[in-house]
Symmetry: C3
Amino acid sequence: MLISAEVDARLAGLGLAWPVPPQPVAAYVPSVRTGNLLFISGQLPFVDGKLTATGKVPVQVSLEQAQSAAARAALNALAVLRAELGGDWSRLVRIVRVGVFVAASPEFTESAKVANGASELLATLLGEAGRHARAAVGVAVLPLDAPVEVEVIAELQP
Amino acid sequence: MLISAEVDARLAGLGLAWPVPPQPVAAYVPSVRTGNLLFISGQLPFVDGKLTATGKVPVQVSLEQAQSAAARAALNALAVLRAELGGDWSRLVRIVRVGVFVAASPEFTESAKVANGASELLATLLGEAGRHARAAVGVAVLPLDAPVEVEVIAELQP
Amino acid sequence: MLISAEVDARLAGLGLAWPVPPQPVAAYVPSVRTGNLLFISGQLPFVDGKLTATGKVPVQVSLEQAQSAAARAALNALAVLRAELGGDWSRLVRIVRVGVFVAASPEFTESAKVANGASELLATLLGEAGRHARAAVGVAVLPLDAPVEVEVIAELQP
């Protein structure tokens, strides 16, 4: 079972703090719970309301920047999840599925490496509960020209 | 709880009627129920078997046309849902998740605005039950050169 | 109810054998079970660790090659599912949802036909239990320059 103080300590160990869960800029909600599943809306790499990078990978955004953006988008998804949990990580069973969309030039074949930025953050912060099924694809363009969008499904305690 | 006559009245208020649920053109089914969840296949903006527009946004299809197409694809998803509900909207708990794929040129960064066409229709017709988690992305191309595809997961009464 | 010997016989009838479930090349797991649902990670058309084709449809990869690749990716998803079932197909209720991502040139409008390669394999091997909801889209590029990625959600017996 996850211990919230430990999760918080791991985040602090990365030099990070919990972001305020980003508010949707449109006509939808940050997450919806149905049964034990929480569907979290696609998250962009916002830091304090500003994208960490914009453009396509690898021309305008490097692989390293994109990995970092994927980690940030995943962190924002966790911030939404944490709000649903009331800050109590023991209420999380596990991350179920992560979808990673990478805004990529057609010749960029390393979207799995970009997605690892998200997957590894989840593993670092949540350990075994962070292990997930995943789909990673390279798309033409993302909202606001973000380089990465991360979508998460999580299982919560009943 | 949703009242079917009210949902129908809101649709009529938009000058619309329920479409016949589009039949898949391929080897799959319009929707699958598992437990309380209904997974609805990706819907295109068909009206009477014809796409409302074809091509990429914004070059061949304008933002406004794409928003309208997103609304139509969402309406087609609701037609599939309504068939599963036997026309009784009180059996819907809520829309859980909406995925919006926009066929976009790489420079088109407003796919969230296109997706709002779908999200706002759901809110207008279903109110609180229409509020959903969402992911919107811009893809290279969609089946039959459709400008938008909308995929929906809904929660039904047990 | 599915009978494992029959499923195996149908596969043999196609001249195929069950592949070893591909291992993720990154920081995620092949599948996650939550309640009765199994979320399977996006699968590429690997045969013995090598992609059956690489590149975009239809320029570098023909429609027929892409359909074949979609069938292979679906078979790999079934291999992951079969491992979870311990080889006992009677434990499968049905395939719920299939997502098919096709690495496509913007002018390629037949991604639904490519996706049929996956859908028809599921129908052939699993019959009624293989009928699924589906979303098919054409994306800019896939991991390792694969032409197709297939993602599956299945419902298992409690």
